[in-house]
Symmetry: C5
Subunit: 384 residues, 5 copies
C-alpha cells in the first residue's frame, strides 16, 4: 500500500506508526486498509452495574451483542486492528456507518466527534511516554458511546494509560460503578488527556537541559536536539488542538447520550485540555527562542575564537617583523649606516627589550579592552 | 497575451502552467482567453444508472444534450481547452453564465463554489505527483453539477487522479451506480482532495532528507532546496485553503442539488481537507525551521574552520618568531651579550626543545578546551 | 503645508505623490488642501444609452448638471485636482457632503465606501505599471454613483487603466451600453482591480530574478532590491486590503443603487480582489524568505573565503616556520649539535622534500574534507 | 511612591512621564495619587453659543458651576494635575464617580470610553512632535461630555495640539459655534487623532534615513536608532489601538449625548484612526525589516573585511615562504646540492621574477572572482 | 508522586512551586494530592459589618460554620495546603463539589471562574516581587464567594499582597465595611491584579538595563538574561490571559451574587488586567527585539575584532616579506645582480624608508575607510 519503500534509519527518530496509510486517491469511500504489521484484535468485555462486574475476553464480536441492551454498562474494548473480517462484524454489531469504520481503522484521522443520533463517535489520540528515554508512543483511540454501552478501539494492546480506569471499575473505587456509560466515556477521555502531562513534563525537562547546553557548550548535537523537540511538539499540537474542539462540541452540542452531570465533569476535562495546550505553546515558544539563542551562542563562540587568533597574531606578527629586520643581510662593512645596531654592544638585549615592550603594551591593550576576561571566563565552562 | 517574453530556464523549477493569463485590465467581463499551447478538447460521455452504463467519446457538445434530461446520471468530461468555439457551445448546452465560462477557462482561478439555482459550479485544483522526481503537476478542474448531470472540465488530458472513479462506475464497484449525480460529484471531489496526500508525503520525505543534509553537510544546494520546498508548499496552500471554504459552504448552504446523505460524505471529505491543511502547515513550519537550522549549521561550520585556522596559526606563529630571533645577525663577535646562545654547545637542541615545549603546551591547551574533539567529530560526517 | 523640506534624492525610489498632505491637526473638518503641483482639472462628459453616445470636454461643472437627471447614463470624469473653486462647484452640482469632498481631494485616503442614500461614494486606488522599469504609478480614484450618473475623480490625467472601458462605451462593445450607471461603476472597479495583476506579475518576475541572484552572487545591491520589493508590496497591501472590504460591503449592504444583476458581477470582482491579495501575500512571504536566504548565502560565501584563507595559511605557515629554522644562525662550528643538517650533503634537498610532504599531506587532508570541491564549485557561478 | 530610585541618564531616550505611578496593590479604589512634579492646575472656561463667546481663566472649580446648566456650550479646560483638593472639588461639581476621577489623574490609563448615563467619559492620549529633534511629547487627555458642557483635563499646560479648535471657537470659523458640545468633543478628538500624523511622518523620514545608513554604513549607532524607533512605535501603538476601539464604541453604542450628525463626523474621525494604525503597522514592519537588513549588511561588511585579509595574506604568505627558503643557511660549500641558486649569476633576479609571477597569478585569480570589484565598490560609500 | 527526581541547581532560576503535581493519568476525578513540602493550613476568620469587626485564628473548619449564615460578611482565609483532612472538612462546610476542591489544591490550575448557583469559584494567580533581586513569587489563590461569606485559599502564608485589604477592613478605611462579600471579592481581585504592576515594572527596568548592556558590551551573560526574561514573561502571560477571561465572564454572566454596583468596579479591574496584558506584550516584543539586537551586536563586535586583525596583518605581513627578501643569502660576490642593495651605502636606510612608506600608505588607506574611527569609538564603551 505504501507508495515508496522507506529508506531505513533516519537521524531524527519519529514516534511509531506515523504518516503511513493515507487515503489512496479515488478509493471507494469506506474502504478499510489494514496495515500489514497490525496486531490481531484482542477483545475484552467489561459489564458492570453498582453491584456486579464481569470482565472477560471475547472471541467474536457477536458475543457481546447480548450485553448491549441490558441496563448494565457494557464496555467492549478492542485492541489491535489486524483482522478486517472481525472489524466489519464489529461494525454490524454496533451498527456503524461505513465511514465511521473507515475512520476507526484509518490511523492518522484527526481527533473529532460525530453525532449519529443513537451513538456518538469520538476519535482521539493517546500518548504514552517511553520508559527509558525521551519521546512518546502515540496511538489512536476511537470511542463509540451508545445508551448502555461503550466501544473503544485501540491500535495496539501495549502502552496504554487506561489501566487506572479499568482498576477503578473492577475494584469499585470512586463513583464510576454508580454512573452510566457516559461517565465511563468521560473517565477514559480524562485519562487520555491527563496522559499528555507526563509527556509534556519530559519536554519541559529536556528544554531546561538544552538551555544550559546551548549557552555553555553549543554543538551540532544541540542543534539537532532543539530541532527534534520542535518537530515533536508540532506533532503533539496536531493531536491536541482538534481534541479540544471535539470535547468542546461534546459539551455544547447537547447530545442526549451525555447527562447534565457528566457535562460538568467534561468541563473539567476541557480545562485540562486547554492547560495542555498552554503548556505546549509555552514549550514551543521556548524551543523557538532556543534556536535564536543557539545562533547567538555560536556567534559568541566564534567571537572568542577570533579574539584568540587576533591576540596571538597581533602580538607575534610585529615581533616577527622586527626579528626579520635584524635578519637582513645588509653589509655592515660597506656602510656605517647599514644596520649598525648589529654591532652594538647592547644590540641584542636592546632588541629583546623593544620586543618585550611591544608585547607588553599589546597585552595591556587587550587586557584593558577586556578580551582576556571574556576569554578566561569561557574556559572552565567549556570543560564541563 | 503575455506581457513579456519569459526569459528561459530558471534555477528554481515551477509547476507547469502557473501565473500566466491573468485578467487583462478593462477587458470585457466574460472574455475567454485560450492559451496558445492548449490541447484541443476531448469530450467523453459516461451515462449510467443502476443497471446500464454507456461510455463514449463525443465530438460536439450538442451530442450530449439529449442525455442531460434523462433520469440516468450523465457525466460529460471535457479535457483540454484549445477551442473557443466548442467551449462557447458547451456554455450554451449547459446554460452557463458568461462569467462561469470565463472562470472555467481562466486557469488561475481561486477554488470556489457558485450556486446558480439549477446548477452548482465548483472550481477546484487537482495535483498529481510527478512520477520520476519530486514536484507535482497542477491542473484546474471545474465541476458543473445539475439535476441529472455533471460536467467536468480539465485543462489537460494527462496526469489525472480520477481514473479510479471512472473504473468504479464502469465496473460497478461500491455504491456509485446506485447514487445520483451529487454522489458522483462528491466522489470526484474526494479523489481530488485525496490526491494531495501523496504529494504532501513526498514533501515529508524531502524534508526528512534535508534535515540530515542541513545538519551534516550544509551546502548552497541545500539552501536552494529548502527555499524551493517553501515556495511549493506556499503554492499548495493557495490551492487548498479556498478549497476548504468551498467544501464547507457546499455542506452548509443547503443547495437542493445535494442530498442529505451525500452531505454526510462531504463532511468526511471536509475532514480530509482539514487534514491536508494540517499536514501542509506542519511541513511549512518544519521548512521554516530548517532555514534557521541551516543558518546555524553554516555558522557552526565556519566556527570549525576558524578553529582550525586559529590552532595552526597559534602554534606556528610563535615558533616562527623564535626561529626569526635566532636568524638575526647580531654580531657575536662584537659583544658577548649578542646572542651568545648561537655559540653554545647545546644551543640548537635547546632551541628546538623550547619550541617543542611551546607547541605541546598549546596543543594541550586546545585539547582541554575541546577544540580537537569537536573538530575530529565533524570529520567523518563531512565525508559522507 | 508640508512640515519639512524633503531632502532630495533617496536611494530607494518611491511611487509618486506618496505620504504628503496628511490632515493638519485641528484644521476645520472638510478643509480642502490642493497640492501645489496638482494638474488643472480636465472634465469629460460621456453620456450614453443603448442607441446614442455623447463624449465631450466640459469647461465648468455646471455644464453637466442638465445631463444628470436624464434617463441616459452620464459619466462625468474629472482628471486633475488643481483648482479648489471648480472642485467646490462640483461638490454643489453633485450635492456632496463637505467630508466627501475632503476625502476625494485628500490623496492618501484609505479605500472605502460611504452610502449617502441618494449616492454612493467609492474611494479606491488604481495602480499602473511603469513602462520601462519595475515599479508602478499609484493614483486615487473616487467614484460617486447616483441614480443615472457616475462621477469619477482622478489625481492625474496620465497613467490610466480605464481606457478600455471608455472604448467599450464609445464602440458599443459588450453589454455596457445596455446597462445602467451601476454596471459602469462595476466596469471601472473591475478594470482598477485587474490593473493590479500586471503590477504583481512584475514583482513575481523580479522575485524570480532575485532568487538566482541571492543564491549565486549575493551583493549589497541584492539586499537593497529585496528590501525595496518588501517595501513596495507593503504599500500595495495597504491599498488592496481596504479595497476588498469596500467591495464586500458594496455586495452585502444592499444599496438600492446597485441592481441584483450587477451584484453578481461584483462578486466576480470580489473574487479577483481576493486573488490579488493571495498573490500579494505569497510574494510577501517569498520576499521575506529571500531575506533569510540572503543572510544564509552571505554566511556561505564568508565560509568559502575563510576556507581559502585557512587553506593558504595552514599550508604555508608551517613551511615558513621550517624555513625559519634553517635560517637560524647557530654556529655549526662551535658544536656538532648545532644544525648539522646545514652541512649535510643532502641537507637542502631533504629539507625541500620534507616541505613537499607537509604540503601534500595538508592538501590531501583538505581535499578529503571536501574543502576544494565546494570551493571550485562556487567559482564558475561567481563569474556569471 | 516610586518603588525604586530610577538610575539616571539612559542611552535610549524616552517620552516624558512614562511608566510611573501605576496602581499600588491593595490601595483603596478611587485613590488619587498626584505626581510630585505635577504642574498646578490652570482652569479656563470657554462658554459660547452662535452669537457670543466668553473665554476666561477661573480660579476655583465652583466658578464654572453656574455655566453648566445654561443652553450655551461650556468648555472647561483643566491643564495640570498638581492639586488634589481642586481635582476632588472638580469631581463634585461635575458629579464624577470616584473611579473616573482616579482614571483622569492616573497618567497611564488605557484610552477608553465609559458611559455614565448623564455624561460620557472619554480618555485618550495626545502626542505632539518635539520641535527640534525626533520624538514626541505624550499626554493623557480626559474628556467628560455632558449635555451642555465639556470638561477636558490635560496633564500639562504645554505642548498642545488643540489651539486650532480654540481659535475656531473664538474667531467663529467653520460651523463649530453653531453646534453643541458633542461637536466640540468631536473636534477635539479629531485634532488629537490628526496630531498623530506629523509624529508618524517624522518616523517615516527617520526610517528612510536609516534605510540608507544601514545599507551603506551600518554602525552600532544605526542599530541603536532602529531599536529606538521600534520601541517608540510600539508605544504609539499602545496609544492608538484602544483609541480606535473607544471611537468605534462611541459611534455604535448610541449614547443620547451624541447626535446623529456628529456620528457622521465621528465616522470620519474613525477612518483617520484606522489610517494612523495602517501607517503605524507599515512603519513597524519596515523597522523590523531594517533589523534583518542590518544583520545582513554587517555580515556583508565582515565579508569584505575577510576578503581583504585573505587577499593580503594569500599573496604575501607564499612569497614570505619563498624568501624564507633562500634565507636558510645550508652550506653551499659543503655540497653542490645545497641551494646552488644562491650562487647563480641570475639567482636573485630569477627569485624576484618567480615571486612576481606568483603575486600576479594570485591577483588575477582574485580579480576574476570579482573580489576586488566588490571591494572597490564599497570604498566610496564608506566615505560618505 | 513526582515522576523523576529533579536534578538540582539549574542555571536559569524558576519561580517556586512550578510545574509539579500535574494530574496523574486515570486518577479518580476529585483526587486531592498534597505536595509533601506544603505548609500546614493556617485559618483566619474576619467577620465584619458596618459597625463591628472580628478577626481571629481558627483551628477547625467547623468553627466558622456558625458565622456563614449571619448577615455580617465572613471572610475565611486559609493559607497553606498541608493537611488533606482539613481541606476535605472545609469542602463539607462550604459544600464544595469534589472537582472544585481538586482545583483549589491542584497548584497549576488555569485561572478560571465557575458558577455553582449558590456560590462562585474564582481561581486566580497572585504574583509578588522578590525583595532583594529580580523575579517574583507566584501563588494560586482560590476565592469561593457565597451570599454572606468569602472563602480564600492560598498556597503559602508568606508573600502576600492582600495585607492592604485586611488593613482597610480592620481600620474601616474606604467603603469596604459598608459593602457586601462581593465587594470584598472585588477588592481582593483588584489587589491581586494590581500586584502585577510592580513585577512588570521590574522587568521594564531590567529590559532597559539590558538594552544598554546588549549594545555596549554583549556577553554570554547578557544572552542568558534576555532568555530568562522571555521565559518569565511567557510564564506571566500564562497567568494573566485566562485571568482576563475570568473577570470578563464575571462581569457579563450576571450571577446574582455580584451586585450591579460591584460590576462597575469590576469593569475597572478588567481595565487594569488589559493594561497588564498591554505592558506584558510590549515587554515581550522588546525582549524579542533585544535578541535580534544581541545577534547584530555580536556580529558588530566580531567585525571590529576582524578589522583589528586585518589592520595588523595587512600592515606587517608585507613588511615582513620585505625583511625576508633582504634576509636571503644570495651571494653578492658571485654576481653583481645578486642583491646589490645589501652593499649600497644607503641600502638599510632606504629599505627602512620603503617599509615606512608602505606602512603609512596602509594606515592612511584604513584611516580614510574609517576603520580606525569605528574602532576607537568602541574602546571607551568597552571599558564601562
Amino acid at each position: 500500500m505504501a507508495r515508496k519503500v522507506r529508506r531505513s534509519p533516519k537521524m531524527l527518530t519519529k514516534p511509531d506508526n506515523e504518516d503511513e496509510f493515507y487515503h489512496q486517491p479515488a478509493s471507494i469511500p469506506g474502504t478499510i486498509i489494514i496495515p500489514t504489521d497490525a496486531s490481531p484484535p484482542q477483545m475484552t468485555l467489561i459489564d458492570y452495574n453498582t453491584r456486579d462486574v464481569i470482565r472477560k475476553q471475547i472471541k467474536t464480536p457477536e458475543e457481546c451483542a447480548s450485553y448491549l441492551d441490558t441496563a448494565s454498562v457494557s464496555w467492549v474494548e478492542v485492541q489491535g486492528l489486524g483482522d478486517e473480517g472481525i472489524l466489519r462484524r464489529l461494525g454490524n454489531v454496533f451498527d456503524l456507518h461505513p465511514l465511521v469504520l473507515e475512520d476507526i481503522v484509518n490511523l492518522v484521522e484527526r481527533p473529532k466527534i460525530e453525532d449519529y443520533e443513537d451513538h456518538l463517535v469520538i476519535i482521539c489520540r493517546m500518548v504514552v511516554p517511553k520508559e527509558k528515554k525521551y519521546g512518546f508512543y502515540s496511538e489512536q483511540v476511537s470511542l463509540v458511546l451508545g445508551k448502555n454501552y461503550l466501544l473503544t478501539v485501540q491500535e495496539e494492546p501495549d502502552h496504554d494509560c487506561l489501566e487506572g480506569v479499568r482498576a477503578r471499575i473492577c475494584n469499585n473505587k470512586g463513583i464510576i460503578r454508580k454512573r452510566q456509560a457516559d461517565y465511563l466515556a468521560y473517565s477514559l477521555l480524562d485519562a487520555i488527556i491527563d496522559g499528555y502531562f507526563p509527556v509534556l513534563e519530559d519536554y519541559g525537562e529536556q528544554i531546561e537541559d538544552l538551555e544550559e547546553e546551548v549557552m555553555l557548550n553549543p554543538s551540532r548535537h544541540t542543534l539537532q536536539k532543539i530541532y527534534q523537540i520542535r518537530r515533536e511538539l508540532l506533532q503533539l499540537r496536531r493531536y491536541i488542538w482538534p481534541q479540544r474542539d471535539a470535547i468542546n462540541s461534546l459539551i455544547r452540542d447537547g447530545s442526549e447520550l451525555i447527562s447534565e452531570e457528566v457535562r460538568i465533569y467534561l468541563r473539567d476535562c476541557y480545562d485540562h485540555t486547554v492547560q495542555v495546550m498552554d503548556m505546549l505553546e509555552t514549550y514551543r515558544e521556548l524551543a523557538t527562542g532556543l534556536m535564536d539563542v543557539y545562533l547567538s551562542a555560536v556567534s559568541n563562540k566564534m567571537n572568542e575564537v577570533m579574539k584568540f587568533l587576533t591576540v596571538i597574531s597581533s602580538i607575534f606578527i610585529p615581533l616577527t617583523f622586527l626579528a626579520g629586520i635584524y635578519g637582513m643581510n645588509f653589509s655592515t662593512e660597506k656602510s656605517p649606516l647599514n644596520m649598525p645596531e648589529l654591532n652594538w654592544y647592547w644590540g641584542y638585549p636592546m632588541c629583546l627589550a623593544v620586543m618585550a615592550v611591544i608585547a607588553i603594551v599589546q597585552v595591556l591593550f587587550f587586557w584593558r579592552r577586556g578580551w582576556f576576561k571574556n576569554f578566561s571566563k569561557i574556559n572552565p565552562d567549556a570543560k564541563i
